[in-house]
């Protein structure tokens, strides 16, 4: 009994008195943290959202940077998904930001307007850094009012993947994928009739709608997608958007389209299992799919409605920001890292390892990448689409700090259509909600 009470008192006092002193790291030094290596180096922190294999490959790039740099040590810290990272940033506000922040394009407006981001343009101008080597349409996505706010790092776009073996089986030409909505309908019908499989699908993620709309060369918001002023109205329910919704509704009703869910994951499994012939995916995942599929995988650009010229694809993926709350020395250190990440060698390595396409044009000539493309010719589709994409507001995606919520609204509208709501009504309702947010 005595022992018991002793233990209790001991634990209680440990808690009460010693804990206050047991904080291991002084958190105010997010940036100047005692580095794991190198005392003289400037230590900076980088928050990112790359998990799984991509996370591992990213760590590798950071390690290589640290090895070759004499002055800078970057510590990459995973912060959960893109939303989790932004959550944290929103909560921290301007108090505890890391030197470097990786974020998805949906949040680019919020971050650009926040008071803790230093525009990338400042560093570029100070040093007269030449950005002409970087893909113009990619830069355009992150440029607001002629200022580049963040440096693109990983770029992907949406493309179509299809099962070549299944195409052969039903007598479709495996070398020419359907390019229009109508062609997809016809091909899907054939597939359904001959094999019972689903013809076409994509995950219910608002990004795909943005991509399909951009490919038609249509705007999502007025004021040039928000690039030339504060948007007042959405254009998603104009003709372009209606065509997408009508098409989905038509195919869904005859059973050649199927909704598998709202995660990137969801259509992949049925595709790999040979139950689905064509689907849209992020180009970042092409390599993995080719590796995993027990059949030959083909890739093709996004489809368009008949009679519309394809314009290309909006850039997805992420970019990196430098924050302004830390010392000049730390900001410079962050800039060093940024420059490293857009070097052709790193971009080639990163693209080859992941399936993102390089943001630096010269990376395409690097042997690391050409070898990967030889082995996985399917990866080239995304690069070709990107290099043909003009640098226009239409192709840069909607610019608004409500971008996340727009997607949620569009996703819900798509789901309504899949469950029988009239496509025009669903899209008009969605547009109304988006308009309310713009007010």
């Amino acid at each position: 009994m005595k022992k018991f009470s002793f233990l209790f008192i001991a634990l209680a006092s440990i808690l009460a008195f010693t804990l206050a002193g047991c904080s291991n790291d002084n958190p105010s030094s997010v940036s100047g943290a005692k580095g794991d290596s190198g005392k003289d180096k400037t230590n900076i922190e980088l928050w990112h959202s790359l998990s799984g294999d991509n996370g591992k490959n990213f760590e590798k790039i950071v390690d290589e940077f640290n090895k070759q740099s004499d002055d800078v040590h970057v510590k990459a810290v995973y912060q959960g998904g893109y939303t989790d990272t932004i959550t944290k940033i929103r909560a921290v506000g301007d108090k505890e930001v890391p030197a470097l922040l990786q974020a998805s394009g949906t949040n680019r407006k919020y971050l650009a307007e926040s008071d803790f981001v230093k525009p990338m343009q400042d560093f570029i101008d100070d040093e007269k850094f030449d950005t002409s080597g970087i893909e113009e349409n990619v830069l355009n996505r992150y440029t607001i009012d002629d200022k580049l706010y963040s440096m693109p790092f990983s770029s992907s776009n949406a493309i179509m993947l299809y099962n070549k073996d299944m195409f052969k089986e039903v007598g479709l030409d495996p070398e020419s994928a359907p390019a229009t909505y109508e062609d997809i309908e016809v091909a899907s019908k054939k597939i359904k009739d001959k094999t019972g499989n689903v013809g076409f699908s994509f995950a219910t993620i608002g990004w795909y709608f943005e991509e399909l709309l951009a490919n038609q060369g249509e705007l999502y918001l007025d004021q040039d997608n928000g690039f030339s002023g504060k948007p007042t109205k959405t254009l998603v329910n104009e003709e372009g958007g209606q065509k997408i919704f009508k098409w989905l509704d038509k195919m869904n009703k005859v059973g050649t389209f199927k909704n598998y869910g709202s995660n990137y994951e969801d259509p992949r499994a049925p595709f790999l299992a040979g139950q689905l012939a064509m689907y849209l995916d992020s180009s970042a995942n092409v390599r993995t799919m080719v590796d995993q599929a027990p059949f030959e995988v083909g890739t093709a650009p996004l489809p368009v409605p008949k009679g519309v010229e394809p314009n290309g694809a909006t850039v997805g993926g992420n970019s990196m920001y430098i924050t302004n709350k830390l010392s000049d020395e730390e900001q410079q250190a962050a800039w060093e890292f940024i420059k490293y990440t857009v070097s052709p060698k790193v971009q080639a390595e990163w693209a080859a390892a992941t399936g993102y396409f390089p943001v630096t044009k010269d990376a395409n000539g690097e042997s690391a990448l050409t070898e990967a493309y030889d082995k996985y010719p399917q990866m080239k589709t995304a690069v070709e689409v990107n290099s043909n994409t003009p640098a226009t507001p239409e192709m840069s995606g909607p610019l608004s700090d409500e971008g996340e919520q727009f997607r949620t609204i569009i996703e819900a509208a798509q789901e309504q259509v899949y469950e029988g709501t009239d496509p025009k009504k669903a899209l008009d309702d969605a547009a109304k909600k988006i308009d309310e947010l713009l007010e």
Binding site: I86, A91, S114, Y260, G261, D266, A273, Q275, E415, Y418
Partner: protein, 306 residues
């Protein structure tokens, strides 16, 4: 005169003693009060405060908007839908988990060989985290790989669109939630059953009461205080469901699983509308408060205290 004096003195002494008792009591409560004040009372007050403002990240209040957030809330279709889904969810989950746990507790309260093993299994879901449990169900509900559809397919049922149809998704979340709550409910109910004195049954047996009449005439009434406790915890727990939604459906399809807590999280963190989210949190708090008070008022009457 003297009497009043001594009375006064006594009263004084009494008061002094009461103050002393109060002081001692507070001394023991002090640690809990400090922690509660900082991490529970302060946040709820702050949330209330936020609900009258436009709030940006870092908790910076941008401008006072009065009741605008609340007005927006009540006129918002999504919120009304979210309320409806929440109540529907509570209606699925609470009876479901209590009936199943009670059934398990009843069959596990028999004195049979090897019962320890079964009791352990029945309690096991208490040791399953939301993250792990929901991940397993995400895989099981998978439209093409999932075990559930595969097994159902073997007996000619399905495939069911567990997570992609708005009719089924809420039920799928409810199934997951019930499964995760069974462990704790089972443990509490089994304990309650074992505390029912043996003599009650023996006298009933002598009277010739059958199994079912014993179950409904003795077991359930005597168990009612425990059942009531379980009910309160279950209602609160299901109102506050979050993790499984985040992992399984993200509130979809078509907002059918966008329960209030998830909507709070989404508004605050994904969309950055902290003030609007705070107003929702306050409304949710009030709803749970009312439901709990109602349960105490009307539910506890039916509880049979020994």
């Amino acid at each position: 005169m003297e009497i009043t004096n001594s009375n006064e003195a006594a009263a004084k002494r009494l008061r002094k003693k009461e103050w002393k008792l109060f002081g001692t009591g507070m001394l023991y409560l002090l640690p809990a009060i400090v922690f509660m004040a900082v991490f529970l009372f302060y946040p709820i007050v702050k949330t209330l405060y936020f609900s009258f403002f436009d709030v940006t990240g870092g908790g910076v209040t941008e401008r006072f908007v009065g009741l605008k957030n609340y007005a927006k809330l009540l006129s918002s279709q999504e919120f009304l839908q979210s309320m409806k889904a929440t109540f529907l969810f509570v209606l699925y989950v609470v009876p479901g988990e209590i009936i199943i746990s009670l059934f398990l507790a009843v069959i596990a309260s028999e004195k049979l060989k090897g019962m320890g093993f079964f009791r352990t299994i029945f309690s096991s879901t208490l040791g399953v985290s939301v993250a792990a449990g929901a991940t397993v169900f995400l895989f099981m509900f998978h439209p093409s790989l999932g075990a559930i559809n595969n097994v159902l397919g073997m007996v000619g049922i399905g495939p069911i669109e567990w997570l992609t149809s708005s009719n089924a998704a809420l039920i799928s979340i409810a199934i997951t939630t019930i499964w995760m709550h069974i462990g704790i409910n089972f443990i509490i109910l089994l304990g309650g059953l074992q505390n029912i004195p043996e003599e009650m049954y023996e006298s009933a047996k002598i009277d010739g009461a059958g199994y079912y009449s014993r179950l409904f005439k003795i077991t359930i009434p005597l168990l009612s205080p425990v059942l009531f406790f379980v009910l309160i915890i279950a209602v609160i727990g299901s109102f506050q469901t979050f993790g499984q939604i985040d992992l399984l459906t993200g509130g979809g399809p078509n907002n059918s699983t966008n329960l209030i807590v998830y909507s709070i999280y989404q508004q605050a963190f994904s969309f950055g509308h902290f003030g609007f989210a705070s107003a929702q949190a306050i409304v949710l708090f009030v709803i749970i408060l009312i439901v709990t008070i109602l349960q105490f008022r009307y539910g506890e009457r039916k509880v049979h205290y020994q």
